[in-house]
């Protein structure tokens, strides 16, 4: 109804939902995701969180969500270093040793994935779509703070429904290098260094010990590699290869992809 819409009164009707959804998608600022304007169809009466709880109980069929990983990222004088492992595990079984846990949103934006692989992939791909739409509509690349805000708003829209995602959005925009941590609880933090996943404590130990703001580029690469390598050595759910990216002023570069067992062999001299 014309008058109702103009005065902001929202009528509750299943039929009206379709027109409202179309209005949302067409609008220039349709950044609303959540239960009321859902991104995908959910049957009426289904409660995702209780369903998930029933899946993880021990007796009967249990669906183990993928949670194991180690990712880290830190800002330094010459940009941002992003390092991730590549093991995807489902309970006690290694799904793949070469999972790709960094999504290349655009040449100036990277997103890391930890937690449920499906959740990470879906929502970060959706974020990539929104970033591209923003660029087309506004003629300039989206800022890192805006991209991380979009992802965080998506997460808040589905809060309490069992999403599991811990991600770091890294990029370089007009304000300089940017690093944000976003997770499925709705947390969004800007910072100089983050590590996510069940191997993060090991990675924090290594990077905290070796970090200086004035690291050279090679020293920073080595610090990132070490952080992941040592975390995979101790954490059962991390392993595979280290994927290392460097975010520079004119975009990111993929530095290397090294097997952790070879790295540990190299570092062996200082370890038990």
């Amino acid at each position: 109804m014309a008058l109702a819409e103009v005065s902001g009164y929202s009528s509750v009707s299943g039929f009206g939902l379709f027109s409202r959804q179309a209005h949302f998608v067409d609008g220039p600022n349709h950044y609303s995701f959540g239960v009321k304007s859902q991104e995908f169809a959910v049957p009426v009466g289904v409660d995702p969180s209780t369903f998930l709880q029933s899946c993880s109980c021990e007796d009967g069929i249990s669906i183990d969500m993928n949670h194991g990983t180690t990712t880290l990222a830190f800002k330094f004088r010459h940009g941002v270093i992003v390092a991730v492992d590549s093991r995807a595990s489902a309970g006690n079984y290694i799904d793949t040793k070469e999972a790709n846990k960094v999504i290349e949103i655009n040449p100036y934006l990277l997103g890391t994935m930890s937690g449920s692989a499906a959740d990470c992939q879906y929502w970060e791909r959706l974020l990539a779509k929104e970033c591209r739409l923003y660029q087309l509509r506004n003629g300039q690349r989206i800022s890192v703070s805006a991209a991380s805000k979009l992802l965080s708003n998506m997460m808040i829209g589905y809060r309490g429904m069992g999403l599991s995602m811990g991600s770091m959005i890294c990029g370089w925009d007009k304000k300089g290098p940017g690093l944000y941590y976003v997770d499925s609880e709705g947390t969004r933090l800007s910072g100089w260094m983050f590590s996510t996943g069940c191997g993060n404590s090991y990675a924090y130990g290594v990077v905290d010990a070796g970090y200086r703001e004035d690291l050279t580029v090679e020293e920073a690469y080595e610090l990132g590699r070490r952080g992941i390598a040592h975390a995979t050595h101790r954490d059962a759910y991390s392993g595979g290869v280290v994927n290392l990216y460097h975010m520079q002023e004119d975009g990111w570069i993929k530095v290397c992809k090294e097997d952790v067992s070879e790295l540990i062999h190299r570092y062996r001299k200082g370890m038990f």
């Binding site: 109804m1 014309a2 008058l3 103009v6 609008g27 220039p28 600022n29 950044y31 509509r137 506004n138 003629g139 989206i142 800022s143 703070s145 805006a146 805000k149 979009l150 708003n153 007009k174």
Partner: protein
């Protein structure tokens, strides 16, 4: 109870008459002029002579949409209020989501999309206003945009809307000089002279220095009149010298 019949429909020869009638309503509104300099943008509006008992401080034709965006309109004041309110909300919503102030192009695009939506909905009529939107983007570039009831928008170096817009625009086309726009004073003078072409009482708002007091406006007007007098005297002198 739903309004399911559209008011704005095409005519056989491709016109949207409701939109064109809305543009007629705009032509009845008081004049507004906008000038974009190199480091300054100016909005000037013709101050409608208020009734004797009316408190003329409440007649505001230039409105702030955000710290960096201002808007003047010509046409139905009540329609403008709706647009201004929605635009103000959108400016803050943009700040919340994107953590940056809007660019002038973005908010103009938002206002134009809103106007266009009302030309293509059932039960609604188009907005009867044209707007001049000025401001600075966060990288410091000044901008001037104009929207009209059909929902189209363009960027301008200088433009006028409302009553006598044609006369003012012709004056601006004749007198706008790129090199003059480097100086803030000359840009303000151009805006004042443009409005003086059509009306005496004026109310201004250049963004860099805030709202000009009526006294300052009087000074500028007096300076312009003096310049005009001297130019006329010179012309007479050269005319009598040549005869």
């Amino acid at each position: 109870m739903s309004y399911d019949r559209a008011i704005t429909v095409f005519s056989p020869d491709g016109h949207l008459f409701q939109v064109e009638y809305a543009q007629e309503a705009v032509k009845k509104g008081s004049t507004a002029v906008g000038v974009r300099g190199k480091n300054i943008v100016i909005l000037g509006v013709e101050k409608k002579s208020a009734a004797m008992l009316q408190d003329d401080r409440t007649v505001r034709k230039i409105c702030a949409l955000d710290d960096n965006v201002f808007m003047a309109f010509a046409g139905l004041t009540a329609d403008a209020r709706i647009i201004i309110n929605r635009a103000r909300v959108e400016c803050q919503s943009h700040r919340l989501t994107v953590e940056d102030p809007v660019t002038i192009e973005y908010i103009t695009r938002y206002i134009s999309s809103m106007k266009q939506r009302y030309t293509q909905s059932n039960g609604r009529r188009p907005f009867g206003i044209s707007a001049l939107i000025v401001g600075f983007d966060f990288d410091g570039t000044p901008n001037l945009y104009q929207t009209d009831p059909s929902g189209t928008y363009h960027a301008w170096k200088a433009n006028a809307i409302g009553r006598s817009a044609k006369t003012v625009r012709e004056f601006l086309e004749k007198n706008y000089k790129e090199e003059d726009m480097e100086s803030d004073e000359l840009a303000i003078k151009l805006a004042v002279r443009a409005l003086l072409e059509v009306y005496i009482h004026t109310q201004y708002q250049p963004l860099t220095s805030g709202i000009l007091e009526p006294a300052e406006v009087e000074n500028i007007v007096a300076a312009i009149e003096k310049e005009k007098e001297e130019a006329d005297k010179k012309k007479k002198a050269t005319a009598s010298a040549s005869t």
